[in-house]
Symmetry: D2
Subunit: 348 residues, 4 copies
């Protein structure tokens, strides 16, 4: 078959590099161009040392040529300005930034302190979360992939809210995250000696992902009370989102099992992890490094109505590049997991 | 002055070793004996390699002699049986296990699955949490120090509950902890290749420390709705307890500042950490390694009534051995921070 | 085509698990049986949590059936006793332990303190290091894969010794290694709190791999003066072997380039890494996690005749399971890298 | 007694911060001023978060006042220019950079690519390595403390060279180091996601510390053949220097014991670590974090004349700030270990 020509804009960051790794090995893809203003003309491998076996070079944005699918890995706030120049390049644009995730332009004012220059696109885009929007993704021309912590949180809470089994009380979610989620920009917070071994409350409240989570968990117009916190822990990759919700009277653990089993059915990247014994009874991000899997687990509190829900992903994979390729596969009618079949490593 | 003769029972574990380190350098202490059944006759430094400069040896419990103060570092469930033999040895016994922390014998059935053999002591003991029970500690003869995660949680939530500023809704606390809290027993869960880099939900619900927390946060008979979870993260030492509470209408951040400022006043090991900028705006356990400090911080959610409260300690210090020495100092009328003045390291 | 039926003996360790991961995804392999005495009847995924998607179970050794190729992942000293019972099971046996690596039974007395029960096999086996013995591996019926640190050291030093460019002085090799190389046996040395963050000289001299290295670097009967040391550092996977050799007069860096270029040519898993700038100028084990690649780099000392040679591998892959699969592929006439094409992750 | 007034120039780096920590707790010191151009007017604690309990502020260099002892923590190449302006400020100047360590100006051309502006000071300065130069330090007015890897290497090799027990062959030293040795300047190499988990050969040859090591190990005019390499490993603090030397015929392990025992005698910060069993048989940097101790160990190779010598320090303490305070104590006639008595932590 003819391979699909794809290009990647802003390919010198961590997400861009992860996307290149996947695309370069994707059986049905031809990587046409990868842009980087700061590294134009350089070998890709000079920036992404895991790609030593490839001899591709970065090009400048001005040299971008037409292709079939365009991936945007730009910093937040850049793509929303350039989008009208970029869309003519390809029939399908898949954006990995936050620039089109929210449906309502007012939310950009609230959470990003930005006036969105293309609010009409907020309505026409499709959120690139296949487990919720697969049918729309099939026909989408602008796909906005959700954030890493949002993905982990939404996928684990959506089935419960959809099933209507939760009390109408605040939901608390605390996400633990590794350092690669901050990207490769130089900052004192990201120095090894500073970031190493932390349990750092970098966003106890007001994290932008709150808005995406709230949006996607609004079901039949009912806005849940999401209270999100984010903590950095020692890891390069990985997110563990732990949510605390309260079950309506009479809802039992078997009910919850049933809800999740139904939800993960036929979704190749979702997996329930809930064991009675062993060290890995619940989702563990390190086992998912390099995979596109989202693991979901839960435990009912014997002493209260609380249900603790845990979900784990690799932030650069299911939280970014892997999810983008999953969306791409859906747009092309390919197997959803084409190029994404990696099994995690153990021990690691 | 004459030094106080102290002995340590069960001194070959991590808590025991940390206690020895403190006692061997304490200006007013003479370490009389340290017992270890498995290492009797061996140099202490053969087990605790940081104590190479000392030539003391472990003795067997059967060779225990009278002393002034006896510290118990036994595994849970052992001291509650041996206590009647041990108390005659010293006027003051300071227990670092869970064996006497709870006031109610029924709680031992619920949380430890044990029938407590000496329930009368549960009433007469004093909980070794000086910031709450200093006056009683001064005259106590049996002191039961609280658990590491309990200490961090109680110290940060007590002032709010005492002040009555919280809504009557469930409190969610999620504690992140390092590996030394599990002690030095061999277990597959504790192998480096297994434990390394985890974000492991080892007790999403039902952690025993829940009982201590609930007990100490019961104020004027009002039992709070504590929902506690514990997660292992990559670190050897350190605990960060993050609590999510909801403020009554009208309570402002300045009110919270005032409550905490009043609470930490004249308490040498408590410190409020809440900065507007920088990497260390909130409590960070790694900066407290080797210190007896508990740092407390908080952030009001702009989008809800939530207050996020964070507290950090070194689990082996303020969470165990340091707190025991603090209690010891109080019993002897010494400066509370004698032998505990270490400043944390940075970077680390 | 018909898939090759393979079985794995001793499949519950880290090497066994890694091998199962590779075999379960190998396009031309059918995993027939995996044995584990301690876990017989259990799901493989109960021991190797990364293999959750597979429903295979461990069987007991006594239930072992005939197959095409048998992999042995037994502890050192076990396979050398059982080998005569195991060989009839399959036409080809690939052993991953140290039991048949050395050619001379006296070496087993010296390095393993063992009298080898089947010394005749030491001559007939082929060492499973394809970059040196590919032709023999094609026809071998007993293959003994070399150790992880040996593999890294031999592959980087062999070309220099073969080319005869080194002075006749002692060679110093210092290998840094992660914790997975010690396996999953319980030991105090392997506890997270003990092993974490170490720079631990666990074998300054007398490491068993010295014997393999010396054996394989003996060229035309000339035994090199190998002085090997091993140091544990903070990592789960990865080995960096750094060797210090002295060049004969007149040998230049371009000569060395030429020697290595010739050596790595047509060897799919070898790669020279030597860059003028960047953070990854030389081999870096973490970039090779999960891959079967061995990276080799070198730097000539401007102030002496010294050449520093560096080589990096994943100890569980090119240092164990990956190399075994590579040997397997060769025995079957498959592409050498079938099932081993993974690209490393970055960042990680 | 009157306290000694000391000031620190360039106090916002990691070494400067560590020095402030020590000086602020030193019983005989009054910290007069701490300068930082980039942070002048700011609280010291805003840069060094472990010093939260102190309210001192940084001042600008132009506001420097006279004091008794001046510590310089400037980047390499700065102090050598400013030294003539700084010396009048205090009777004693202790420099922690590389600017005055080497005795010969030509060495600055070779290793630093700099023409030294004050070569006369290279002769009159005293190297701040008390174990070798204590008598001279007592009367010195300009003290240049050696580098961290130099300190570890020199202290472990000096006794052997002095005793004349080594063959006249090349000495190989490979130092493993944590990330804090690189300081807190922003660089991509120092980002957590890049630096985490590395075994990175950042200076296989040509490290500047080679020159200091060679200088200090030149005994009676005999220049040893030092071949130094440096490798970054996962740690924030700590250096392990492993040296490989060859013993003259007839030299036995008891001879080596005797040489080191004699050397460490009456040197409060040196300690021989060589155990027959246990996990900490040899020097382990992590146990020395926060201490000024240098541990030295050795192992004779049973298969050759090689002796492996290991030495461990905390790079910010015995490798920088601690050693500077030790020198300071000597200049003032104080106990050498005043303010430096910390015992290391375990586990850590």
């Amino acid at each position: 078959m003819n391979k699909i020509n794809v290009s990647v804009i802003g390919a010198s960051g961590y997400v861009g590099g992860e996307l290149l790794r996947l695309l370069l090995k994707h059986p049905n893809v031809n990587l046409h161009q990868a842009t980087s203003e700061s590294n134009q003309g350089q070998f890709i491998k000079s920036v992404h040392p895991n790609l030593r076996q490839f001899s591709n070079k970065f090009v400048a944005l001005k040299d971008l040529e037409n292709c079939d699918v365009l991936f945007l890995c730009l910093p937040h706030g850049v793509g929303m300005d350039q989008i009208n120049d970029l869309r003519p390049v390809a029939k399908i644009v898949i954006d990995l930034s936050g620039d089109f995730r929210l449906n309502n332009k007012n939310e950009y004012l609230t959470w990003y302190k930005l006036t969105h220059p293309n609010p009409n696109l907020l309505k026409s885009k499709v959120l690139g979360l296949p487990e919720l929007h697969k049918e729309k993704i099939k026909k989408a021309t602008l796909i906005a992939c959700p954030g890493c912590m949002s993905t982990a949180t939404i996928l684990s809470l959506y089935p419960l809210l959809k099933a209507g089994v939760l009390q109408d009380t605040p939901i608390i979610t605390e996400a633990k995250t590794g350092s690669s989620a901050s990207g490769n920009k130089l900052s004192k917070a990201s120095l090894h000696a500073e970031r190493s071994g932390v349990m750092r409350s970098f966003a106890p409240t007001s994290h932008r992902h709150s808005a995406e989570i709230s949006q996607e968990l609004t079901i039949n117009g009912k806005v849940p009370q999401i209270n999100f916190s984010a903590t950095s822990v020692e890891a390069v990759r990985g997110i563990l989102a732990t949510s605390h919700v309260f079950l309506k009277e009479g809802i039992t653990e078997p009910d919850i099992w049933e809800i999740y089993r139904t939800f993960v059915k036929d979704k190749p990247f979702l997996r329930i992890v809930k064991e009675k014994k062993g060290n890995y009874r619940y989702p563990e991000p390190k086992l998912l490094i390099g995979t596109n899997v989202c693991e979901i687990g839960f435990e009912k509190d014997l002493h209260s109505d609380r249900l603790v829900v845990m979900s784990a992903i690799d932030n650069l994979m299911k939280g970014a590049a892997g999810q983008a390729v999953q969306c791409f596969n859906i747009t092309q009618g390919f197997d959803e997991n084409m190029g994404l079949e990696t099994i995690g490593l153990y021990p690691i």
